[in-house]
């Protein structure tokens, strides 16, 4: 395919050079989309359609909507959805609370300091998700670093249960998704016209007043963008909740994995996948239409 395209390129190129230099080439730009589009059609869209079809079958392969009825009719699975949304919400809020002041600090300091802060954000960003989850497993275990520090400070007498419960998921996922929040907030804050702040100050508004009435509203595009990125990533998270969470707080992705690897229930796993896919796109649609988030990533 690639070779054909290159050949075509060369052939048309030769012709145009010989005849008329500005003559339109036969190779149109849209044709470049064909190879990647074919790749995606075969290896992504078609497999996804198969999963969609599979979700409407029963164990014998006949048409049935039983998987969906089972999912929405059972407390077990509704609890999984509740956990997923609760975790995503808590993680999004904690990323916002931790990230907003950091992004703000990066916009008000000197170039060198802000570059140093950016490196501190980028090191975890580029570090493997597995390695970071692993680090938290070491830190949070019963005789781990966090518990020994808290104990030596005299803050606790009994070690806290931080691993294999929802607290562990909150800490790990906030750590992993926080750089995305900061990287969404920073460019928006950096782009805020300083004259607006100056104007507000010269018109007599106090520092706090200016910050909350001028700076915060102007930074909202970054807030909604970062919140959507963190939330949408969270609802599909799999690795971190599997390793840091317990069996009592499974998220949707883990349920899909259990259905396939342990129970071999493909129709049901497909139905949950379709439901998770719909959740994801409903949130993305909402962010575009209601929150007016133009470009997400």
């Amino acid at each position: 395919m690639l070779k054909d395209m290159e050949l075509a390129l060369q052939r048309t190129g030769l012709q145009t050079a010989e005849t008329n230099p500005v003559k339109k080439s036969r190779l149109k730009p849209w044709m470049l989309i064909i190879p990647p589009a074919l790749f995606f059609l075969i290896f992504l869209i078609w497999p996804l359609l198969q999963i969609f079809a599979l979700s409407f079958t029963d164990a014998q392969g006949a048409f049935a909507a039983g998987s969906y009825v089972k999912f929405f009719g059972s407390d077990v699975y509704l609890k999984v959805i509740a956990t997923t949304f609760r975790v995503s919400l808590v993680v999004t809020l904690s990323c916002l609370i931790l990230g907003y002041p950091v992004a703000y600090a990066m916009t008000v300091c000197s170039k060198k300091i802000s570059c140093l802060l950016m490196i501190a954000v980028m090191i975890p960003f580029w570090t493997s998700l597995l390695v970071r989850t692993y680090a938290w497993m070491i830190l949070l275990q019963t005789d781990g670093v966090v518990n020994s520090i808290l104990k030596s400070l005299g803050l606790i007498h009994q070690p806290l249960a931080l691993l294999h419960n929802e607290v562990g998921i909150y800490i790990g996922m906030t750590h992993i998704l926080l750089p995305y929040m900061i990287l969404s907030l920073y460019p928006v804050m950096k782009g805020i016209d300083r004259n607006m702040i100056l104007a507000s100050r010269t018109l007599g508004a106090g520092k706090a007043h200016t910050f909350f009435r001028i700076f915060v509203p102007l930074s909202m595009p970054g807030v909604s963008c970062g919140a959507i990125i963190v939330f949408v990533s969270s609802i599909g998270y799999y690795i971190t909740p599997s390793l840091l969470g317990g069996t009592k707080n499974m998220m949707i992705s883990q349920e899909i994995q259990v259905q396939i690897n342990r129970l071999m229930n493909w129709p049901f796993a497909s139905a949950i996948s379709v439901i998770l896919l719909i959740f994801t796109y409903v949130i993305l649609f909402f962010s575009k239409k209601v929150m007016k988030v133009e470009k997400l990533w």
Binding site: F43, L44, Y104, K111, C115, I138, I235, W297
Partner: protein, 266 residues
């Protein structure tokens, strides 16, 4: 207050990552902090185990191949999208972005089921296909952003001066979008090297990637061998970060607006 909070948050971000480095030199058989003594036992354990070294090799080969192919496919898609108008263009763009937005587990389930039917699952090409899918959106995103800032008149000028479309692409377009191609390649490499959610379905007995090996290790017990390879990767990333920002970090601090512009022109 703001600075104290910022420093605490950044310590929260960086310390858990950096703590791996002293742990990797621990003389203890177990993961304890602070490490009781210095030893390179985990590095020896890693590099003398053919399974670990093999997984590392597969991961590197896979990441290089996935980067090259996704860079080509992604650049084709990005140029096609930015240089043409057709019905359903935004839908096509959305479809290309899917692997970045859709939860990895869904892609894993779909690709695994499809590849198992073609006996692609469990071998290198099956993994490569999945990794290309995951990496292409990152290339498209960076190249698309760069193409938006590229004046089409440069290409028109080259064409009207007699260069064909291939020459124009290689000598005019590529040099201008080179930074985007580079960062797209970085993202593609990192995505493939770190990919686990889709790979854990597709990896077989014969072909295992480094993340899959780590994942298996984590699910059984906390194997300290992982700290050795993790520490190497972290040190490399930190060095790359500092080197790529060396100019801003160690360069002259501009004293005023004019000097700043002059420095930027250099």
């Amino acid at each position: 207050m703001l600075w104290l909070f910022t420093i605490l948050v950044l310590l929260f971000l960086v310390l858990p990552v950096l703590i791996i480095i002293p742990m990797s030199f621990s003389a203890s058989r177990y993961l304890q902090f602070p490490p009781p003594g210095f030893s390179t036992q985990w590095y020896q354990a890693f590099f003398s185990d053919p399974q670990w070294v093999g997984a590392l090799q597969v991961s590197i080969e896979l990441a290089v191949a996935a980067t090259v192919i996704s860079l080509i496919l992604g650049t084709f898609a990005a140029i096609g999208i930015s240089r043409s108008e057709f019905k359903g263009k935004s839908a096509v763009t959305e479809a290309f972005m899917m692997p970045m937005l859709v939860p990895g587990i869904i892609i894993g389930v779909a690709v695994y089921r499809f590849e198992a039917g073609l006996s692609l699952s469990g071998n290198f090409s099956g993994l490569l296909i999945a990794h290309i899918l995951m990496a292409v959106p990152f290339v498209i995103r960076t190249v698309l952003a760069s193409m938006a800032g590229l004046n089409p008149n440069y290409e028109l000028a080259s064409r009207s001066l007699g260069a064909n479309s291939l020459i124009t692409f290689l000598r005019v377009t590529v040099p201008i979008i080179k930074p985007a191609l580079f960062s797209g390649a970085m993202f593609a490499f990192a995505t493939s090297f770190d990919e686990i959610v889709v790979s854990q379905f597709i990896c077989g007995v014969n072909v295992t990637t480094l993340p899959k090996k780590i994942w298996d290790g984590l699910n059984q017990q906390l194997d300290p061998t992982i700290t050795a390879i993790a520490a190497i990767v972290i040190v490399l990333i930190t060095l790359a970060m500092i080197l790529s920002n060396a100019k801003t970090l160690f360069g002259r601090e501009p004293k005023n607006q004019i000097q700043e512009e002059l420095l930027e022109e250099e």
